[in-house]
Symmetry: C2
């Protein structure tokens, strides 16, 4: 054998982070593929080896073995020998038979229409917004019906945490849920407070989803909709509580201040504005999930952003509101900002 010299390890920069980052799109696609194949559901039902999982998924054994290893590396499966099993979270969110199944969230967030917003991201950065002119923000865009239908598993725990903070059981409440979508924020308040009456504003096609969810939750008698854009329709008045969840991030500051003035007018003195958002720290680079959310808004909206707490406070004060305070909903990544009228 030829004599081999191995020098001691050298300090050498490596492009590993670059290499790794260039493959992260595969992480998204692997999770999407696993949902499409019902892989987690089959593992939950007792398939543990590549051969058996492949048979249940009607897929190749090579493909399943490689996908399962990849999902194990990503933290969605555990592996012991050549047997795979679900993690606690995969069991809860990725098995179709779990009540918290979030397959629809995966489908929505990894759908071609969402991914394609970022396909020419250099072009988006150059122009400052979506290349199709409006991203996801077209009026009556069916994507918001899909969003409303899809995002309930992800949003339900957030809505629950928010209702826990603002529903005030035992007190009569007139509640406005702005851009209600799936309706879960208002519905959660209605479930927790039997004297709460919910008015939900959203486009007509989206409101149908919210109304269906309200009926499922048994609160349809105290849930009614105002169809249309909240920027255009009469939103009524004398609200005790207004919920604006994951909506301000779609718009620029002047648009939000305009909306907030309309909201201020519609509220009772002493009423409460509850804003639910992913709120980065003032450095805009932490925490990672909230700070990264700006990128979503760059790809999907013309002026939206993940706003910091001081930026929200500035918008609220400019519209006439009093001081705000922020409550993190940990371990959820969302924050709840409570603002007095």
């Amino acid at each position: 054998m030829t004599n081999v010299q191995i020098l001691p390890e050298r300090q050498q920069a490596t492009p590993s982070l670059i290499f790794e980052t260039l493959h992260r799109y595969q992480h998204t696609m692997a999770l999407k593929a696993a949902i499409d194949l019902e892989l987690f559901t089959h593992i939950a039902a007792g398939a543990t080896t590549p051969a058996v999982i492949a048979a249940r998924c009607a897929a190749s054994e090579r493909g399943i073995r490689i996908l399962c290893d990849f999902l194990t590396i990503l933290g969605f499966l555990r592996k012991s020998g050549s047997d795979y099993s679900l993690t606690r979270d995969s069991s809860l969110f990725l098995d179709q038979h779990s009540p918290a199944y979030a397959g629809s969230v995966v489908g929505f967030l990894s759908s071609p229409v969402t991914l394609d917003l970022f396909r020419d991201l250099a072009g988006v950065v150059r122009s400052g917004g979506p290349l199709n002119g409006s991203g996801h923000m077209l009026p009556d865009n069916d994507i918001w019906v899909e969003f409303a239908n899809s995002m309930v598993p992800m949003i339900a725990p957030v809505a629950d945490a928010v209702a826990n903070a603002v529903a005030v059981p035992g007190r009569r409440l007139k509640v406005l849920d702005i851009a209600a979508g799936h309706g879960m924020f208002g519905i959660s308040v209605a479930r927790r407070n039997p004297q709460a009456e919910i008015v939900a504003v959203d486009w007509k096609n989206v409101l149908e989803v919210a109304e269906r969810n309200a009926a499922r939750a048994g609160v349809q008698d105290r849930f009614r909709g105002i169809p249309g854009s909240v920027f255009e329709v009469d939103i009524e008045s004398r609200y005790d509580l207004v919920i604006v969840a994951n909506f301000f991030h779609c718009f620029d500051v002047p648009t939000n201040i305009g909306l907030l003035k309309k909201v201020w007018t519609a509220m009772k003195p002493g009423g409460l504005l509850a804003t639910v958002e992913l709120v980065p720290n003032d450095d805009r680079i932490s925490p990672a999930i909230a700070a990264s959310f700006s990128m979503n808004m760059l790809g999907a909206t013309n002026g939206g952003d993940a706003y910091t707490f001081p930026e929200f406070e500035g918008m609220f004060r400019a519209a006439g509101f009093d001081g705000s305070r922020m409550q993190l909903l940990e371990p959820l990544p969302h924050a709840l900002i409570l603002t007095a009228r």
Copy 2:
């Protein structure tokens, strides 16, 4: 202000890992966009604020600010106040004026033709291989010319580490570089050992890239090519050293054993086979970069894989080779397997 009750933090499962994973394709696209915009190069040249960077990149300030924050979260930039600066690695690999600039690697690994292999990953897993029939493995596929042209910055330090281990300066060496691509493995040996003569096998269109690189390195007199598929052409004989870098992973075990038998015959007794690969541990889920590489091979090849060391040993022995030993090239993710003839 309405009375607000905040219950103490509850233990609650969250779909955060799911949410985060569904956005990781944005990481890949952000790095690609930054290279397309020459963002790192402009920062290296003194642009530090969103406004100035945007002007130099001919891009919107909104887009640049959000992209720079995102790249900071990912570890490619540092942020202080609203000023951005390069990290050591970004400076080395992502500034066009650095000799180690890896923009071409980014371009290749995030090109639509590469990303599209994973666009319907469920379909790939079902069928067990690329949906276009052959992935990247078509003969004379121009993608390998692009690969050879693009990957030098990433592969140069690997080739250097390998040459350091196998070039044996002071000794006459006839070297075969199989599927040479950019030619950097053979070229690195030739640079380190003035008595080494390199024979490089690859498709004709790819060999032109290797020959150009050999001329640049000043070793063209000791570098010649055999055009064609290594599975088909006469590869000559009496080699002291055969280098097979990042090639076995493209094929299934029987194909590799067939190739190895041909290689064994072409080598001198006592010759050395040097295999360069990303080699996962036997568990196939660690280390992450090497183990994840299987997914690339699922998307791009019909039978390839990231093989473990025992799997390589099995193939080598089946072709008549003696024992092997593996040397990790840390901090590079690659391993070098040395096998005696």
